[in-house]
């Protein structure tokens, strides 16, 4: 029971991670291997902000997300926009390069020793249900993840921007004819995905030592979550995240923890084989994206 609850709590964070990936794949059709490295930047921005101000890191995650969003806007025009036109292969090369570049620069700037943004909330908690202990920080992370999810959902479903994103993702050309500023929509959507990555990074980093290689565990996970849940489905991402969270806990408790990732990957591959569109995915999107 404890595992399931804690799995759900952390699963929400994985879901936000997957949500950014979902948007970037589904809307922008952009292969971004560097996505995890923006989470890494988020971790370091949190550390810098905390070091400068000493404010509770759970308050600081909001400015971290904003700063990362601005960073996303800033690099979208010179870097991402030209790459969108250059095809998938150029995108892969460029984002792999970006991944190396960001890691190397952070290594240069901060050194390799772990930097910790401490919080008392990681070392205190409460008994949520009989026998189910959770730390305050994991509850807060869950809360932030849900809020982020809600905001993105509202943004996509209840605003003009959301409509424009949807239109652009379905028919780019028609969107242009309808008078949508496709470039602007792209830029904002990309910035949103980067802000989400930064938020996940910051939440992930509280209380743990951050090194330039800290984002490595997120690298593969961020592909697993949206695909497991279903590409093109926002509730699907949430389900995907929670499934991964619970599986992580279950495999650790009943199987050698060493095989935890292997089992998740194996389940992932099996799910793909049986139901490639994911749990809640749209099969139509699948064939469309197959090219």
């Amino acid at each position: 029971m404890s595992i399931v609850v804690n799995g759900i709590l952390i699963g929400a964070l994985w879901a936000v991670l997957g949500l950014g990936k979902q948007l970037i794949l589904g809307v922008l059709r952009f292969v971004n291997f560097a996505h995890a490295s923006f989470a890494l930047i988020g971790m370091y921005v949190l550390y810098v902000l905390w070091n400068a101000t000493g404010i509770n890191p759970f308050i600081l995650v909001v400015p971290v997300a904003v700063i990362l969003g601005l960073l996303g806007l800033a690099i979208e025009r010179p870097l991402i926009r030209p790459l969108v036109a250059r095809g998938q292969r150029a995108q892969m090369i460029a984002t792999l390069a970006l991944l190396t570049l960001i890691q190397a620069l952070l290594n240069l700037g901060f050194g390799a020793a772990g930097r910790t943004t401490p919080s008392d909330l990681t070392t205190s908690g409460t008994t949520l249900l009989p026998g189910v202990f959770v730390t305050w920080s994991s509850l807060l992370v869950f809360g932030f993840a849900l809020v982020a999810f809600g905001v993105v959902w509202l943004l996509l479903n209840r605003t003009t921007f959301g409509l424009q994103v949807l239109a652009t993702s379905q028919r780019r050309d028609s969107a242009v004819y309808c008078g949508i500023n496709v470039r602007r929509v792209y830029g904002l959507a990309f910035a949103l995905t980067i802000a989400l990555a930064g938020l996940v990074g910051a939440l992930y980093a509280i209380g743990t030592p951050v090194t330039p290689t800290s984002a490595t565990p997120l690298l593969v996970l961020m592909f697993v979550v949206p695909i497991l849940g279903g590409l093109g489905s926002i509730p699907g991402v949430l389900i995907g995240g929670v499934i991964v969270g619970i599986l992580q806990g279950l495999t650790t408790s009943f199987l050698p923890p060493q095989l935890e990732n292997a089992i998740i990957y194996l389940i992932f591959v099996l799910v793909l084989m049986v139901r490639p569109q994911g749990v809640l995915g749209n099969a139509a999107l699948l064939t469309e994206r197959s090219t």
């Binding site: 772990g114 990681t122 205190s124 908690g125 994991s138 209380g207 030592p209 992580q248 990732n261």
Partner: protein
């Protein structure tokens, strides 16, 4: 027709230039004058092991600066030492390439690194072929026993270390009035760590009457979120009184924090290796979180070495095996150079093999205060050192002859 054939030709001409520059650069850079002796340092400065590389670099550079300030190598007319640092990278192939590039110039008299077993296994083949004396601190037993002439391992075998450290731990527990009955083993995916876990299960547990109630290998970096609470639940329900070996530092930290969060005094750790005596570790856990954690290593700072300890702390690191051993290794090379009265690599190699030092800077970091190698090139004298975190400081607590404070066994 012709121009399209020219296309690749032009390109490979460019590539050839690149290759040639690489080889030529190596040859051109050879200074080789009697006034400087070049010592190579091949350590990971990027990637997951980079913190250990930064520590090794600091220690080696400290020793080089000290030696140069004190007048260099006397028997070579005051020749100065020069440290040439290269990044050993993450991939094994990176280390082989970096070693090749480092030794290509031919003017490296001796070298130090990498501190990672696999990478040293691979890179030392290159230093052996180039007949360059090479020193490293690595516990894996694979490194010696290959018949290498030029490789010296300054740490003892992990199994030798364990022969002293676990009886010491048992003694500590007994003195503190704790009857160790149930112990947990949590090694990481690393041959030295899993071998230590195997030894505990097969030798030390029966010897001291410990019951191994948990034995799980952890993949480094996998202990996050629900995994942490799952593991801590298992630790709690197993009733383990002490946790041995230890996986990657972030994993140990996560487990420790989750236990503190549950309002319990954490199950005491007896960790194998120097990564737990690092700035990252104590920064993440704080003085309270790290209190009482014991690490079994082969080198530490002792009350007599306060100056070295202060220098390392001033540079923002915690004195540990990774910065202390290269410090000692540079001094070993210095002593060998003094004895060999030459920068000839074979003579330096023979001088290192013949080293028998008592005291001095080279010996100071080791508990025996001495340096000597056995015929396979492994340190013949080094013994176990236990370091305990006390009030946010790493204190040597064993052996008693060099201990800075009395050890305590945390009760939970």
């Amino acid at each position: 027709m012709r121009p399209s054939r020219l296309a690749p030709l032009a390109l490979f001409a460019a590539a050839m230039l690149g290759l040639a520059a690489c080889g030529g650069g190596g040859a051109g850079a050879s200074g080789g004058s009697a006034q400087t002796v070049n010592i190579g340092l091949l350590v990971p400065l990027t990637g997951p092991y980079a913190e250990t590389g930064e520590e090794q670099k600091l220690g080696a550079q400290m020793a080089v600066d000290e030696i140069n300030q004190a007048g260099g190598i006397t028997s070579l007319g005051g020749a100065k030492l020069n440290l040439t640092v290269r990044d050993a990278g993450t991939q094994v192939s990176d280390s082989v390439s970096a070693m090749t590039s480092l030794l290509a110039s031919g003017n490296i008299t001796a070298g130090i690194g990498t501190g990672i077993t696999s990478n040293t296994i691979a890179a030392s083949q290159v230093s052996e072929q180039r007949k360059t004396p090479w020193l490293d601190v690595t516990f894996g037993d694979q490194l010696t026993g290959r018949g290498f002439k030029y490789l010296f391992i300054t740490s003892p075998l992990a199994s030798e270390l364990d022969k002293e450290s676990f009886p010491a731990v048992q003694q500590l527990a007994t003195e503190a009035g704790v009857k160790l009955d149930k112990v947990g083993l949590l090694p990481g995916t690393n041959s030295v760590l899993t071998d230590t876990a195997k030894e505990i299960a097969s030798i030390y547990a029966p010897q001291f009457g410990w019951n191994v109630v948990m034995n799980e290998t952890l993949q480094p970096g996998s202990v996050t979120g629900a995994v942490t609470s799952g593991l801590v639940d298992r630790i709690n329900s197993s009733g383990a009184q002490a946790l041995f070996v230890g996986s990657a530092t972030p994993d140990v930290i996560a487990i420790q924090k989750q236990q503190i969060a549950q309002g319990k005094t954490p199950v005491p750790w007896v960790l194998s290796g120097a990564p737990y005596v690092s700035k990252s570790f104590v920064d993440a856990l704080g003085p309270q979180g790290s209190q009482g954690v014991i690490a079994t290593v082969s080198a530490g700072v002792y009350p007599s070495d306060q100056a070295i300890s202060d220098k390392i702390s001033a540079a923002g690191q915690v004195p540990n095996e990774y910065n202390l051993v290269p410090y000692s290794e540079v001094y070993m090379i210095k002593e060998a150079l003094e004895a060999a009265k030459s920068t000839d690599k074979d003579k330096v190699r023979d001088a290192i093999a013949a080293l028998d030092l008592k005291g001095g800077q080279a010996g100071s970091v080791w508990p025996c205060n001495c340096v000597k190698f056995d015929p396979t090139g492994r340190s013949a004298t080094n013994k176990a050192v236990l370091i305990q975190w006390q009030n946010g400081k790493p204190i040597t607590v064993f052996p008693e002859s060099v201990a800075g404070a009395k050890a305590f066994f945390p009760k939970n």
